[in-house]
């Protein structure tokens, strides 16, 4: 008995540093954010308690809705491309031939480089007069004049960002899909072949259903990541034109830091956190289930 009590204590001591860390740098800031959101606070002036004013102001804030709508639009546009595209490349490269392995390695390279670096790289590629995208399109005779991709047209800017992000993260979904496809027991496919299923039927009736949970999880991860998009827009379009491509995190950042409207920024953060919460909790439930 005494020994068990001792081991309980020792174990608790080992967990303590991590626990204190999480309390100090995740739980405490989160609690503090609630308090900040109830205040009108610009860092220079002392905080003034205003109750739920910040939240009711958000409802009338056009830019809040513009940002939220744009973030959702971006998410809805990019997610199917990432999932379907990632799955198709996974199907293409799932077998372990030399060429397939090499293709997987190459597809994964952009995943490890920074989103900041890749956004700046594409910022250059999409630049109207100095970028290679317009040069290629002009040389192919597809366009006459250089296109102003970034900063003047919200749709063009969005597409430029989507292209850059798809390039960067396609390999992420691919590798998880490949793992799922490869873990399907051989017998299942053999049985299907014996029953006369062709390649297409094996893919749609065997592979896809058996990897559905991974598809769902990757979809959730992509949705959460896209809802939190910041770097790519901050660096490529800078939110232009007229903050039409400023995402939700972008708007939180603008209010909290350059504008120093801390109370308002915190209220926006909370709303964002609750939107994300729906997706992360779904993800956790799914993960837990799949472990069992």
């Amino acid at each position: 008995m005494r020994r068990t009590r001792r081991r309980k204590l020792i174990g608790t001591i080992y967990v303590m540093p991590a626990l204190l860390f999480v309390l100090a740098f995740t739980v405490y800031p989160f609690a503090r954010m609630f308090w900040i959101s109830l205040n009108d606070w610009s860092l220079i002036t002392p905080p003034e308690y205003v109750g739920l004013d910040n939240f009711s102001r958000i409802l009338d804030d056009d830019q809040f809705w513009t940002s939220l709508r744009f973030t959702l639009k971006y998410t809805i546009m990019i997610t199917p491309i990432l999932i379907i595209g990632g799955y198709l490349v996974a199907l293409l490269t799932a077998s372990n031939t030399k060429l397939r392995r090499f293709t997987r390695t190459v597809l994964f390279v952009p995943v490890v480089i920074g989103l900041g670096a890749s956004s700046l790289l594409w910022y250059w590629l999409f630049s109207a007069r100095y970028g290679l995208v317009n040069r290629v399109l002009q040389d192919l005779g597809l366009i006459g004049e250089p296109i102003l991709w970034l900063g003047t047209d919200a749709n063009l800017g969005n597409w430029a960002v989507i292209i850059s992000v798809v390039w960067k993260v396609l390999g992420f979904g691919m590798i998880l899909f490949v793992a799922a496809i490869q873990s399907i027991p051989t017998e299942v496919n053999e049985a299907a072949t014996v029953d006369g299923a062709n390649g297409w039927q094996r893919t749609t009736r065997v592979t896809l259903p058996l990897t559905m949970r991974t598809v769902l999880l990757v979809t959730l991860v992509s949705v959460i990541g896209s809802l939190l998009a910041f770097d790519q827009f901050y660096l490529m379009t800078a939110g232009q034109p007229f903050n039409q491509t400023a995402t939700s995190v972008f708007y939180v950042y603008l209010n909290s830091f350059p504008f120093l409207k801390l109370g308002y920024g915190a209220a926006l953060s909370l709303i964002l956190a609750f939107i994300i919460l729906i997706f992360t909790v779904t993800q956790m439930i799914l993960t837990r289930r799949s472990q069992a």
Binding site: M33, S95, A179, N189, F257, A266, S269
Partner: protein
């Protein structure tokens, strides 16, 4: 940054070292070979995909070695007509100088690695091998950062850090990066500690070793792969992270590489953005990531499969 655990995923290399998963049972199904034209077509598709993925990086590296005038030319050239390291020279002396920024990034990344390893090795050990009271609720609290995105916490973190003088400090930034990495790393550590056979631990206990000695002699050698994976992801996350650094660092001598790259955009040479210097910076910030990835691919993929990181 989010984490996810993927069902049924064990060790599949990106490059695909044939990892027998559980004997023959799991050997990958070999479909009847498609007819030859289809096979060639699929092969060509692989080659085309590889080319598309690599081209932007090649273009960036090539642009970084263009002579100054050529880098500012419009329309741009595909392949440099001359070779010059002027862009790197300008970057070397830009503002506080490239060495400062590389050291800031590297220092922050190393601190993040150390913080993450210390916290998760201890907590992983405690959770996996001791009857800690309220173990599962505790574990959920430790994984809270998964539910609350750090992007939403930056305002209060900034204010708290300002109180403690941790803004404009590499330690402060490393703390944020550690908080981002903690759930994923702890998850991997705990699993890895749990996988160590009981007999090893018991033998050491009978020899009279205390818990610290057992951790050092029995467990640490056994969890080396997890340590490498956790360190690798902590390093890459920190090296690449942008928003946290943007918020915490406002003195340019404290900037990390991604920050100085972004601000170098507005710098002009010959009347526009210094594209050559920007591409030189991108090349330098990409090198460690790609290098480490190619060297330690196995650990990367293991990490991505247990707790995927974006």
């Amino acid at each position: 940054m989010t984490s996810v655990v993927v069902p049924g995923a064990t060790a599949v290399d990106v490059e695909g070292v044939d990892t027998p998963q559980s004997g023959d049972q799991h050997r990958t199904y070999r479909a009847p070979r498609p007819p030859r034209p289809t096979r060639y077509l699929l092969g060509a598709l692989c080659v085309a995909i590889c080319t598309i993925m690599v081209l932007p990086i090649v273009a960036s590296v090539l642009a970084s070695v263009k002579p100054t005038e050529e880098a500012a030319q419009t329309p741009p050239t595909y392949v440099p007509h001359g070779l010059s390291f002027d862009a790197y020279r300008r970057l070397w002396e830009y503002q506080a100088g490239l060495p400062t920024y590389v050291l800031n990034s590297f220092g922050t990344a190393m601190l993040t690695v150390v913080f993450t390893l210390v916290l998760t090795i201890l907590a992983g050990y405690g959770l996996a091998r001791f009857p800690v009271p309220f173990k599962e609720p505790l574990f959920v609290v430790l994984l809270l950062a998964l539910i609350i995105p750090y992007q939403a916490l930056l305002t209060p973190i900034f204010l708290t850090f300002a109180d403690f003088g941790l803004t404009n400090s590499l330690i402060g930034l490393a703390i944020i990066h550690t908080a981002i990495q903690l759930p994923f790393s702890l998850y991997i550590m705990r699993n890895s500690f749990e996988a160590v056979p009981r007999e090893l631990e018991e033998a050491a206990m009978i020899d009279g070793a205390n818990s610290v000695q057992i951790l050092r002699r029995v467990f640490l050698p056994a969890v080396v792969p997890a340590i490498i994976t956790v360190a690798l992801f902590a390093f890459i996350t920190s090296w690449n992270e942008y928003l946290g650094a943007l918020v915490m660092m406002n003195k340019d001598s404290k900037f990390t590489l991604p920050l100085i790259l972004a601000s170098s955009r507005t710098e002009t040479s010959l009347g526009g953005t210094d594209w050559g210097m920007l591409q030189a910076g991108i090349t330098i910030s990409i090198i460690p990531c790609v290098g480490v990835y190619l060297l330690l691919q196995k650990y990367f993929v293991a990490g991505f499969l247990t707790g995927a990181v974006k």
